[in-house]
Amino acid sequence: MLPDKTDIARQFIEAIPHSRALGMNLTEIGDGVAEITMAYDARLIGDPETGVIHGGAVSALMDTCGGAAVMSHPSAPAGTATIGLRIDYMRAATPGQTITARAVCHHITRSVAFVRATATDEDTDRPVATATGTFTVEQT
């Protein structure tokens, strides 16, 4: 693992205006694994009756986390963009709780990176959502 690449990835994530707007916080990165948290925020509510966060905000978290995992892979791609992302929503995230996404870039070729991701709230045994994604690999 190249620590300078990891630092670049962290700076890159934290400089993203939309990640900031959603209050994303990078808690772990390296070796093709990334973990990002997103605190509960009333602006992100999708169902005003229950206060449950909108699926779209979870999508944004999963997408960012997947991209971060690709960027932190030891093969060190120069850049990445999402090709496709599929998310399964297993249950509503509990209102008031932080959502944590963890993505693993489990395979990478010269052109494509393959990612699996999971999102949980404080009940880490029961995932809120899982995702699989494919990302581009930009060569240096």
Binding site: I16, P17, R43, H54, L61, G84
Partner: protein, 167 residues
């Protein structure tokens, strides 16, 4: 044969626009992204005005992939809910006073959501329309596409499944 006179056009429009406004305005996340909906009869077009907080890649710059996915998901849920509520809006069975007071009917829940990123989202306004391919008693199937300058050059498409609220 019993034939009612047609309703005045402004009454019809007001009822539909009030229902749509309540449906869209009641969701904080839709307001957070700044999404609004334009209506032609029952056809809806979602509009996402450009804003710096939507940027995902400051170097290009490009709209965040998560924003694009969220935009398609919002378009899908609102269009599906709208189609599902349409007959009750038209018949007057849906109480508009309750709706305006924020008492929304139960909305469909996303089961799964798959996005294809076709082109980079540029720093400008985006538009989207969804098509409900089947809306059953329990499950619904929706496709949506988003574009910017050219309708024929979509930036992203999605395919999604929803669990319908109990009738």
């Amino acid at each position: 044969m019993d034939r009612r006179p047609p309703e005045p056009v402004q009454v019809v429009k007001q009822r539909r626009d009030t229902a749509l406004h309540a449906l869209v305005g009641g969701v904080p996340y839709v307001q957070f992204l700044g999404i609004r909906f334009e209506r032609r009869g029952d056809e809806l077009t979602a509009v996402l005005p450009y804003d710096n907080k939507l940027i995902g890649n400051p170097l290009l710059p490009a709209i965040h992939g998560g924003v694009t996915a969220a935009f398609l998901e919002v378009t899908s849920i609102i269009t599906l809910s709208w189609a599902w509520l349409w007959s009750d809006i038209e018949s007057g069975a849906l109480n508009l006073v309750d709706l305006e007071a924020g008492k929304l009917p139960r909305l469909p829940k996303t089961i799964d959501f798959s996005t294809d990123y076709l082109r980079t989202g540029l720093p400008r306004d985006a538009y989207a329309r969804a098509r409900v391919t089947r809306s059953g008693r329990r499950y619904a199937f929706v496709h949506a596409a988003a574009w910017q300058d050219n309708h024929d050059r979509p930036i992203a498409e999605c395919s999604a499944h929803f669990l319908m609220p109990p009738q």
